[in-house]
Symmetry: C2
Subunit: 324 residues, 2 copies
């Protein structure tokens, strides 16, 4: 089952979600509406609201609260992209200029704040403490994860444990909130919420590893530039793996080289990619990716058999697929 | 009555607020704790939580919910400063380097997100829809006001009406939320909430005009650089006044000069300040400031006489005082 097919099958539900997002964001500030239209036109696969909707269908009956959860998930995600692009000074996303590049960093930061505020207003309107709890926790963890990554990048001492701490916060936390809130809204049992949260956690980890592997694959057309993590001295799983596979002397030399080389230098990206390739960093990261994809599927075991459960499995397999 | 004396009189209550802020922000990410400590050490006059506390005392009995409202007000304010400093690329605030300058823009954006998320978590914990409503509305309006200001700056067509639209959103909205939520928490009547909201609205307007006047007074030691608004082509009240007081030809020439001159050029700041001085822009803005300060005091008329009401009046007089 392809991701596009799954996407098509819940098109109607996703349209309701996107309508709610548009209605929630309407403003009388023209600049904001212009930027919002740009963001709608460039929207990605919308994996978070897809997960909200399919998970809710796998456990119960989606309703207006489910639609709101799915909308909030996508709105928070978009807010973090607008902020991350300023934080990372990114020029491109999804094959098009970022808002901070096309307009200016100020507009990107403030539009992100607006999306975040509107997302939280939309949750508040639902008047449901459990749903609020899921999402506020996710927003806290998102920024904590990003800041821990910056701290680690400045010291060049990211361990494998640190890496999982970072990605569980910066990626899995919103996956979990998207799924747990939606499943809860559909009237699922505690056990179902817990199982699907575990599914979302592992899927988020796999998703982020996949993204980090992409950064070491310059020949792939992902809509983003390869090599950006290493330019920002962010040490992700492929490099952590390679640093484990080489000897102590090579490890120290490589870390010193990354530390002392300017982020804009071509040789930094070239040499690091070459090092990761030599010490099988991508294969090793892909093994981890496969493990988390399998754990996500295992977490679904107690969920009753249905086309929706099969779609959740297919999404985990899609994310877990080897890229090379 | 001086502002410092008022501050001293509610020191104990403010300490409780600051303790709650610190507890709410505690993290296991070292970088975040380091930046937070820096922000605590440099905290300003904390006018928003002061207003929350004194307003609540003027109408009823402050309680734990009041402390939370005051903490949330200060946390949201700090989050917006962290974001504004990135948006405006500001080097200094309160006489010290900004976080985006001392660390990097990424840390400033993400720490702002963290403060915002923790503020909203703290509101959610109170489980009070009215209080949530006040603050989520404020956060939406803050970013809308800032974005409208950017839109207007890019087109150089800010009218007096636009100016009040901008500052009512970017400044008054959080003043109103700080006061209305706290007064509500103390068990005040609808009428008291409405009167004190009007007080906070006009005080916010006066406060922002004062700040915008400061930007045209290079000899004042405000902890910020004068002339930053005009460098960013933000047209504020002193300039709007001066443009009204000159003839059409001078107006067109001045607008063309600002539009065509590089933001980093010294002559931009020098010539604009000279123009504002020549056409009494500061005096005119100060008249408006005085009017809003008086309207704030008038809004207190139905509030029963007490030392707290006098403090609120004194704060409005302090903000409304002529600077030259």
């Amino acid at each position: 089952m392809e991701i596009n097919k799954i996407h098509d099958r819940i098109k109607g539900d996703l349209e309701k979600v996107n309508l709610l997002i548009k209605e929630s964001l309407a403003s009388d500030v023209e600049l904001l509406n212009t930027i919002n239209k740009y963001l709608f036109d460039l929207k990605g696969k919308q994996i978070r609201p897809m997960l909200s909707l399919i998970s809710a269908k796998a456990c119960g009956e989606p309703n207006d609260l489910t639609t709101a959860c799915a909308a909030v998930a996508e709105m928070i995600h978009t807010a973090t992209l607008l902020h991350d692009d300023v934080a990372d000074n990114s020029a491109q996303r999804r094959g098009a200029p970022t808002v901070q590049n096309l307009y200016n960093p100020a507009s990107s930061v403030l539009t992100g704040d607006y999306w975040l505020a509107k997302a939280l207003s939309l949750i508040v309107k639902q008047n449901n403490p459990a749903v609020m709890g899921y999402f506020t926790k996710a927003v806290e963890e998102l920024s904590e994860g990003e800041l821990f990554q910056i701290q680690k990048a400045s010291r060049m001492d990211t361990t494998e444990e640190d890496y999982y701490y970072i990605i569980s916060r910066k990626t899995s936390s919103l996956f979990v909130a998207s799924v747990a809130s939606a499943v809860y809204s559909s009237g699922a049992s505690e056990k179902q919420i817990s199982d699907l949260s575990r599914y979302a956690y592992h899927l988020g980890i796999a998703f982020q590893i996949r993204d980090d592997v992409f950064d070491y694959m310059p020949d792939l057309d992902t809509g983003k530039m390869a090599g950006t993590d290493i330019k920002e001295k962010k040490i992700t799983l492929p490099l952590i793996c390679a640093l484990k596979n080489c000897n102590t002397k090579e490890r120290e030399e490589m870390l010193r080289f990354i530390k002392e080389t300017d982020g804009d230098s071509n040789s930094l990206v070239f040499k690091t990619m070459e090092f990761v390739k030599r010490y099988s960093g991508i294969e090793c990261a892909q093994d981890a990716l496969g493990q988390h994809s399998r754990k996500a599927i295992e977490a679904l075991e107690s969920i009753k058999e249905s086309e929706f459960r099969r779609e959740l499995e297919a999404l985990a397999m899609y994310v877990g697929n080897r890229l090379v």
